[in-house]
Amino acid sequence: MSSLSANRRLGAVLWFASLLLLALPFVFPFWWMITSSLKSASEVFAFPPTILPETWQWRNFVDVFGYQPFARQYFNSLYIAALVTAGTILVSSLAGYAFARIRFPASSLIFLLLLSALMMPSEVTIVPNFFFMTFLGWVNTHIPLIVLPIFGANGVVGTFLMRQFFLSLPGEIEEAAMIDGLGRFGIFWRIALPIARPALGALAIISFLFSWNLFLEPLVFINDLELFTLPLALNNFTDNYGLPIWHLQLAATTLSVLPVLVVYIIAQRQVVESFAMSGVKG
């Protein structure tokens, strides 16, 4: 009996040790990003490496804002992600509701057409879209970064997600609302949307992160430093030879990653579930 429990304890210890070992390459980069962002330009390369900064150079986090208009770039990312989130929620919940609850000719055909683009990378259309945006005069503005995610891949995922949710809505609720004299829009706005709050939360999370992390579109459409979003700005902390200024780059990266991580840790369950629900990324 005692050898069995000893076995079990050994198993638990092994289990914990192997997970700890596996977690190392997942956790260490975050640790190293944060500690290195507080080191001086020379200590970043010190040998042997210092686990904690010898001198905590908080100045890095100030210098980041002097090197390029980083505050402005940070704000760009924030407001673009906010607009993408709001736009996707509006457009996708309307469409998702209609596909799930309203009968109209060709609805499943149209939905299938949308679905076929679910996994289509935006890289396929980046060249024509560049000419299109040039034609519209939208190059070097934020408009493509807002419009393309709302109607492209991210929006389609959103419509799919909202449709799935509204399909599970009991029909009696709508009938009762109709008897109470509500029209279609009233039912959508006052009944369906409030019930859909969990799905809307998931959609908001994935839309915000989709926009926040977008790289190819800003790279192609934006030229001015003032208009950069965070991913572009991070890549821009380089010296005259194009080599990274590591301590500043890592400080800026920390500033862009930390808020997301904090929100993720607070709302861990919801964030994970949102990704699992949308589950089309690789």
């Binding site: 977690a23 997942f26 956790v27 980069p29 609805s107 259309t125 991913p231 990324k281």
Partner: protein
């Protein structure tokens, strides 16, 4: 007549033809923003990319001449880089997908038990998924530098002379694969976890009563039960691996000597660095066809699962 009956008759009357038609109108109204936007920003450009692929078109001047299938002919018979790009994309996918899936399964199996610490580890393994690819690549590039890089410094402390990870051809490919797996494996882990939790406990218990040990249960019960999930994850991960761009641009810039140049990067390079948007469009068509094929496979497998 009771209130309920009255209400029912009212509903009945409202279900008349004209009401159905008005409702259908609302349907079209509701989907119109999504559908119109989709036609304008996705379908239109996809059609355009096929047309552009038949031309030579300069990004800056916008000048274009019709060349028929010449771009494709050049791509498949003459362009030495395209051949390399195809091989690289295949190597990248063939390396990334099995590694991702095996690691995801191992993590999910380890974390499917109810033990203290499970939530913490789940949080840790998933954290890179919410982190931007750019940030992840920047930190790893920093750590994988030649002599002053953290990884090589640590190796040096252990008496090992590490390679120049991002500047030697084979190591560069291995580095981008492994760091990309670390970035995304958390998502597949979560999908596996949900599937494992859906396997009835009795199956394993019954096998154990028949004398199976843990390994047997895993091998002959758990993994076969997970087969549909594994198939879906495989397809999704292949599609994702075909789209890798920012990660490679930041870590290796496609180098050394195009050793990590993959399809999407090549589209970007041809179109926006060399301004050859006609050729970039033909490359996009290839990406479109590959993705469409994988999407269809995904649907067929999904259908079979149901």
């Amino acid at each position: 007549m009771s209130y309920a009956q009255k209400a029912e008759r009212r509903v009945e009357r409202r279900r008349g033809w004209s009401l159905a038609r008005r409702d259908a109108l609302f349907g079209y109204l509701f989907i119109s923003p999504q559908v119109l936007g989709f036609l304008v920003f996705v379908v239109g450009p996809i059609v355009a990319v096929f047309v552009f692929s038949l031309s030579e078109r300069n990004l800056l001047t916008g000048q274009s001449t019709f060349v028929g299938l010449e771009n494709y002919a050049w791509m498949f018979t003459a362009d030495p880089v395209f051949r390399k790009v195809l091989v690289n994309s295949l190597v990248f996918t063939a390396g990334l997908v099995p590694l991702n899936i095996v690691l995801a399964l191992v993590l999910a199996l380890l974390l499917s038990r109810r033990r203290p610490g499970v939530t913490l580890f789940r949080t840790l393994f998933f954290a890179p998924v919410v982190t931007s690819a750019v940030a992840w690549a920047i930190v790893w590039r920093f750590m994988l530098q030649n002599e002053s890089g953290t990884i090589n410094q640590l190796l040096q402390l252990a008496g090992i002379d590490g390679p120049n990870w991002l500047r030697e051809e084979n190591w560069a490919m291995a580095s981008v694969i492994v760091t990309r797996v670390l970035k995304n494996v958390g998502l597949n882990m979560i999908i596996y976890l949900a599937a494992i939790q859906g396997i009835p406990r009795e199956y394993g218990d019954a096998a154990r009563v028949d004398g199976a040990n843990g390994w047997h249960v895993l091998r002959h019960v758990t993994i076969p039960m997970l087969a549909p999930t594994t198939l879906l994850i495989t397809i999704i991960t292949i599609v994702g691996s075909m789209q890798v761009f920012d990660h490679i641009l930041l870590m290796t810039g496609g180098g050394p000597a195009n050793a990590t140049m993959v399809l999407v990067y090549y589209i970007y390079q041809q179109g926006f660095e060399f301004f050859a948007t006609g050729y970039a469009s033909s490359l996009s068509v290839i990406l479109f066809i590959v993705t469409l094929g994988l999407t269809l496979a995904h649907w067929l497998l999904r259908g079979r699962e149901r």
